[in-house]
């Protein structure tokens, strides 16, 4: 089950044109409520594309429940109601995402066989659950107000962000739908949105998918228990590092572009994360909306850095551990979260020492340490299990020799090296999408700036990229985005 994909012909040539056409038609006739309803219904159709009878009741229940709780909180703020709402959301998420993991853990720890419920994870549940938890918290803080069920439904289901983010706040999206201009076709917005979308599509189809062909078989060989050599190990790690970035940032660009087509600004999600020179810096650039969510709704409520350095370290570890678990119910994600938590604790510790003693790591070394750390941490994130994680880690440490008797990518070394070098250069030296489109990627507020004219060169470049991507989509089956599984 994967929902409708942005990188599929039915979405590009049927769903999107019809949704935009009807939305602007209704908008131009001043049927704004109908236009919002249309967008919400279309978003639900987008979500339930593969399995409507299973997916729509789940998201429908979640929307109705959270709307009612939110409405009650807005009428009379209550910590108890907020707790009930959050617990119910986490229970729903927990049942679908963590019940099997929990059953396995109990069985392993106690020897008592707890049957695995084996429920399929509804696509996007982590994202729409977090979006609604944020709404309940914001409502209790008086930062969000929503009494219109249709508007609330659109807030949750708005199709550009529904399945894999960016995770947004009610206050930064829904006020935009109150502007009249949103409902009129703005050709400048449409052009910029299309350009942004084309860049994202090209990142996914022309960059992420081709480089995956080198890493995927090596991770599969490790999952089958085969020993991996040094060269294969590094190809696997590097190719996945690049695939994940271009895949997920491509998805985010497409989401931002789609929303821009109707004049809605979504928050940015990536800001050249592999250019980071520290782990703290990395988390300000990678999946920025998730980092913001974890900071605002977990790290700060836990006390943040206000209760001394020791408590801050504990808070960091807890936040990253839960951040890891949010990605998936498996020990691999726990390890990934722990590694990053530990890395952040060390980074903060070092920063304090360095400030006190006026020490500084040279920029290239700081970058290299950060990049290698992040790369090695992606191994448990990608590997099928702990055993294959260890196999890959051993291989990159050179513990299995330079090349095994049979290299998984034998005969493809030159191709792999070229792809990795090219993509690495793009990730490290090229400007990111918002910079290309003349926006600063540093803050979310910059997207409130007026839409800028991208220039004729972008009409040509984005058109070429779009055409080339579409050809590959038609020729080969479109592939799922990596973050769809979370």
């Amino acid at each position: 089950m994967r929902g409708m994909l942005f990188n599929s012909a039915p979405f590009l040539f049927a769903f999107l044109p019809v949704v935009l056409l009807v939305f602007f038609l209704l908008g131009s006739c001043d049927y704004r409520t109908l236009a919002i309803g249309w967008l919400a219904v279309a978003s639900l159709a987008f979500y339930g594309w593969d399995d409507p009878f299973r997916l729509l009741p789940i998201i429908g229940f979640s929307i109705v429940f959270n709307f009612v709780i939110g409405w009650m909180i807005l009428r009379r703020p209550s910590r108890r109601l907020l707790a009930i709402g959050i617990c119910a959301d986490l229970l729903l998420l927990g049942y679908f995402k963590y019940a099997g993991f929990l059953a396995e853990m109990i069985t392993a720890a106690t020897g008592i066989v707890v049957p695995n419920p084996d429920v399929a994870l509804p696509i996007g549940i982590s994202f729409f659950t977090f979006t609604q938890i944020a709404f309940l918290v914001d409502a209790s803080r008086g930062e969000a107000r929503e009494y219109e069920p249709l508007h609330y439904m659109l807030f949750v289901t708005f199709f550009p962000h529904l399945i894999a983010g960016p995770i947004y706040h009610h206050k930064e999206i829904m006020p935009q739908f109150e502007r009249r201009e949103i409902y009129r076709l703005d050709i400048s917005s449409l052009s910029v949105g299309l350009t942004w979308f084309a860049i994202g599509l090209a990142k996914k189809v022309l960059l992420a998918d081709p480089v995956a062909q080198y890493g995927t078989p090596i991770f599969a060989a490790a999952a089958a228990g085969n020993q991996i050599g040094f060269v294969d190990g590094w190809i696997a790690v590097l190719s996945f590092t690049l695939q994940l970035y271009f895949d997920f940032s491509g998805y985010s660009d497409m989401a931002i572009g789609l929303a821009l087509m109707i004049g809605v600004r979504l928050p940015l999600n990536f800001n050249s994360p592999y250019k980071a020179t520290s782990l703290i810096d990395f988390w300000r650039r990678w999946h920025m909306t998730l980092s913001r969510f974890l900071r605002d709704y977990l790290y700060i409520p836990l006390g943040g850095n206000r209760k001394g350095p020791r408590r801050r370290h504990v808070n960091l570890m807890v936040t990253m551990l839960l951040g890891g678990l949010w990605h998936g119910a498996a020990w691999n994600f726990v390890i990934w979260g722990c590694i990053h938590g530990l890395g952040l604790v060390l980074n903060h510790g070092w920063r304090k020492v360095a400030e006190a003693r006026q020490l500084a790591i040279p920029y290239p070394l700081a970058w290299a340490i950060t990049f290698v750390f992040v790369m090695l941490a992606w191994v448990p994130f990608r590997a099928a299990n702990l055993q294959s994680t260890l196999i890959i880690w051993k291989s990159v440490a050179g513990m299995n020799g330079l090349l095994p008797a049979q290299s998984v990518v034998a005969g493809q070394l030159a191709g792999a090296a070229s792809w990795i070098a090219g993509l690495l250069a793009l990730a490290l030296f090229a400007p990111n999408t918002q910079q290309l489109m003349s926006y600063s990627g540093e803050t979310f507020d910059r997207l409130k700036e007026p839409i800028r004219w991208p220039g004729w060169k972008w009409a040509v470049a984005a058109g070429l990229l779009f055409g080339a991507s579409v050809v590959l989509i038609i020729a080969e089956r479109p592939t799922e985005f990596l973050y769809f599984r979370f």
Partner: protein, 329 residues
């Protein structure tokens, strides 16, 4: 230029570049992936019907069904004699003897068999779609009258966009491939087995481009017949097919191309008797095959020569109403 007109111009440039970018990449990728197909068989009327390469595979099912080779479509439509069957038909009737026989008599013919074991359902579809009105059908009935479609035939009949897109690219690729291999032969390794097909008469050119000429002797002991229930079904489907075609049964000729796998002659004889059609089974000794299933070139020349010679009375009967067209003054 106003903001609005600039926006529309931007979208127009975007769309034009998307089309251009897509076109260049698609044809370029197709060319790179299939550059090793044989190019030696291209001719004025010959197209690449099949290439065993990464992205080419079968072309002829879709090309003939959708009329992508206009000369072939016209020649099917205008053919007086059409040969139907599987790849055994193509192997058996792709011969100089057949060309010479019909050429001498000024009779238009088309060999309309297909690889992948395709039978009456696809033949029926293609006859209908191309508007063919043959006076004589020669069917390699071993048993030919069957249910089901091969994957390429199914794809052609489904006509999904992705299939049509690939088909269009294969059409364009041939033009690029031909020009490239003609002007820079060193980049074409000519290593992928390929089958060329004549748009003029449908004959295959495959001995050489696809398989080497061989002489595998017949092994009659290995020949299988078909189960009685299958034969009954073939009779029913045959009745249906022939009713749909609407030809006088005397003008439908069943035959069986000899091979080691199937008792084609026996099967065709039974079907001809049941369907009350004409039949031709020339006694030709010493035939050999390429692979047990298909007549080799030498044997195809001899066997098909005998078949068309034996066809003369049927031609006389069924083409008698055809008069040469009087040229308008």
């Amino acid at each position: 230029m106003t903001v609005r007109s600039r926006g529309w111009t931007y979208l127009a440039v975007f769309a034009a570049c998307a089309l251009a970018g897509g076109f260049v990449l698609a044809v370029g990728q197709m060319t790179i992936d299939n550059i090793h197909c044989r190019s030696s068989g291209y001719g004025v009327d010959d197209f690449l019907a099949y290439c065993r390469s990464k992205r080419y595979g079968d072309y002829e099912h879709g090309a003939l069904y959708y009329g992508l080779e206009p000369a072939a479509r016209d020649n099917i439509r205008n053919a007086q004699v059409i040969f139907l069957g599987s790849s055994r038909t193509q192997a058996g009737f792709s011969s100089k003897a057949v060309r010479a026989y019909f050429g001498k008599r000024g009779i238009r013919f088309f060999v309309l068999g297909f690889g992948y074991g395709d039978a009456s359902p696809f033949a029926s579809a293609i006859l209908r779609r191309s508007g063919a009105s043959p006076k004589i059908l020669v069917i390699n009935a071993d048993p030919f009258f069957m249910d089901g479609l091969s994957p390429p035939a199914q794809e052609a009949l489904d006509g999904h966009f992705a299939f049509l897109w690939r088909l269009g690219l294969k059409f364009l690729f041939q033009r690029v491939h031909r020009a490239l291999c003609y002007s820079a032969p060193f980049i074409c390794s000519e290593s992928e087995p390929s089958i060329f097909r004549s748009a003029h008469d449908g004959q295959w050119n495959w001995i050489g481009p696809y398989v080497a000429e061989k002489a595998v002797p017949f092994d009659r002991s290995a020949q299988k017949s078909i189960a009685p229930e299958e034969l009954e079904k073939a009779k029913d489907l045959g009745e249906k097919f022939l009713r749909e075609v609407g030809l006088d049964r005397r003008c439908v000729v069943l035959t069986g191309a000899p091979n080691s796998d199937l008792d084609s002659v026996g099967i065709a004889e039974q079907l001809a008797a049941a369907l009350k059609t004409s039949s031709i089974f020339p006694p030709v000794d010493g035939l050999a095959t390429l692979d047990g299933g298909h007549l080799n070139l030498t044997s195809a020349e001899r066997w098909s020569g005998q078949v068309v010679e034996a066809l003369s009375p049927v031609l006389a009967d069924c083409l008698q109403d055809i008069r040469p067209r009087r040229r308008s003054q």
